[in-house]
């Protein structure tokens, strides 16, 4: 059903146009003899067609069209202006002011029906396009979500690939990612950034793919030379991840190269100091070390929570960014929940 707004200060015209609108079928006429009251109505209602007289008290048809068009979402709605034959100048002005077509007085039913139907067809087309645009937007959202989900899955699988060659467990990756998110939250970073670090942190050690097995899987202490090779995983991970347009991969590349940097400059690969180390790298350093310490491995026992938290505190300003340690310890209860949620099922045997 189309809503047709009719504005004319003459009752006889209102009644005549109303009767003609009803003859069109599938239309509900809404009548106003005062343009200001009609404009008020338009603030809360969206007509499908407006038929407005030119000469009216308080506000003429041109002023009405201008005010109507200024309302949000009313720029495309068809407007028919009713004018006398001798008002050519008014017609030009109305066209420039936003009227779509004219009706000449005295109103002729054939002309009226044709013009009104044209305008209503235009409106139906607009609605169809709007519905279609909304439908397409939903589809795009769905597709984008699908692509994002696929991207996340690929990232997860990539992390798993590195993990298969690494004594670290899947649960470690999840715990350290959630710890990183907790620290980001504690630092006051927005939710989007918290989510970004949660999704990017699992790839921090992806560069281990390029480390030879005899070093990566060596049960004992690494020699100086072996450790130098092992340190290369930070750069390798960065090489693997850099250059992507994906926000997650860009963040992951930053994390990969910086999560072994230390706040006092004694870390690797670049020996960056303090806030020269990317924030995500400083956050992940705390999360990764804390989880490594508190997890059991074939070559070591798990540290107690007290010992691990003491290690973090003692490492403030040396190994770790003091703000990140503070943020983590301030959310200690949340960290314990994560620890409980993602338990190591089995310690992989080397």
């Amino acid at each position: 059903m189309n809503t047709v707004l009719i504005i004319d200060d003459s009752e006889i015209n209102l009644t005549l146009i109303k009767a003609l609108v009803l003859k069109l079928g599938d239309c509900t006429p809404v009548l106003f003899d005062n343009p200001l009251r009609a404009l008020d109505w338009c603030r809360d209602h969206v007509p499908d067609l407006v038929i407005v007289d030119y000469m009216m008290p308080d506000m003429d048809g041109l002023q009405f069209i201008s005010a109507f068009r200024a309302l949000h979402g009313r720029t495309e709605i068809p407007v028919l202006m009713v004018t006398a034959n001798d008002q050519k100048e008014v017609r030009y002005e109305a066209l420039l002011g936003g009227a779509n077509d004219f009706l000449t007085k005295p109103i002729d039913r054939v002309e009226f029906s044709a013009r009104a139907r044209n305008m209503l067809s235009l409106r139906i087309g607009q609605k169809f396009l709007a519905d279609r645009a909304a439908h397409l937007a939903v589809l795009v959202d769905e597709q984008t979500k699908e692509i994002r989900d696929r991207e996340k899955e690929l990232i997860f699988r990539m992390s798993r690939a590195a993990e298969f060659r690494d004594p670290e467990t899947g649960a470690h990756i999840q715990r350290m990612a959630y710890y990183s998110q907790i620290i980001a939250k504690g630092l006051g970073l927005d939710e989007k950034t918290q989510k970004l670090i949660l999704e990017a942190a699992p790839m921090h050690d992806v560069g281990k793919i390029g480390i030879p097995d005899y070093i990566l899987l060596k049960p004992g202490k690494l020699t100086y030379e072996e450790f130098e090779v092992m340190k290369g995983h930070a750069k390798l991970g960065h090489e693997l991840l850099k250059g992507s347009t994906s926000e997650i991969l860009k963040a992951a590349a930053d994390i990969a190269i910086s999560h072994h940097e230390k706040y006092d400059g004694s870390g690797y690969p670049h020996g960056l100091v303090g806030t020269k180390i990317p924030l995500f790298g400083r956050i992940v350093a705390v999360a990764d070390v804390f989880d490594a310490l508190t997890s059991e491995r074939p070559y070591k026992k798990a540290w107690s929570l007290d010992d691990a938290s003491r290690f973090l505190e003692e490492g403030r300003g040396l190994h770790f960014d003091p703000m990140c340690v503070e943020a983590f310890l301030a959310c200690w209860d949340e960290a314990l929940v994560i620890r409980q949620r993602f338990k190591d099922e089995e310690v992989p045997m080397i």
Binding site: D9, S10, E11, I12, N13, T15, L16, A19, L20, K23, M55, M56, P57, A84, D86, K105, P106, I107, D108, R109, V110, S113
Partner: protein, 117 residues
Amino acid sequence: MTELFVLDRALILDRLGGDEEIFLLMVDLYLQDVDNNAQALGEALVQGKAEVLMREAHSIKGLLATLSDDAGAAEAATIEQQAKLGKLSGLQPAVALVQRRLFEVASVLRAETASAG
């Protein structure tokens, strides 16, 4: 304007797509409003309100045109134009003429509806 108003029912109905119902509705509304229209036109002139006079003359012009009274509509258009220019002096005869025309049309319409009924 010397000619008498003659109701061209066929012409009006043709414009209304042959819709008798709308025609009778229009006639009815005209008869209901004619006194007010004539009075408003006269008052606007007496009060010297050019803009109101222009608007009233414009409405009457449309009203008479709707009933295919081209001569009456033309007279109302003259008043409208003069009022638009702010020239109210000397308009009294024209206003009186249009007022008489409104009543003349009304009387023809009453006769028409009486004979139809």
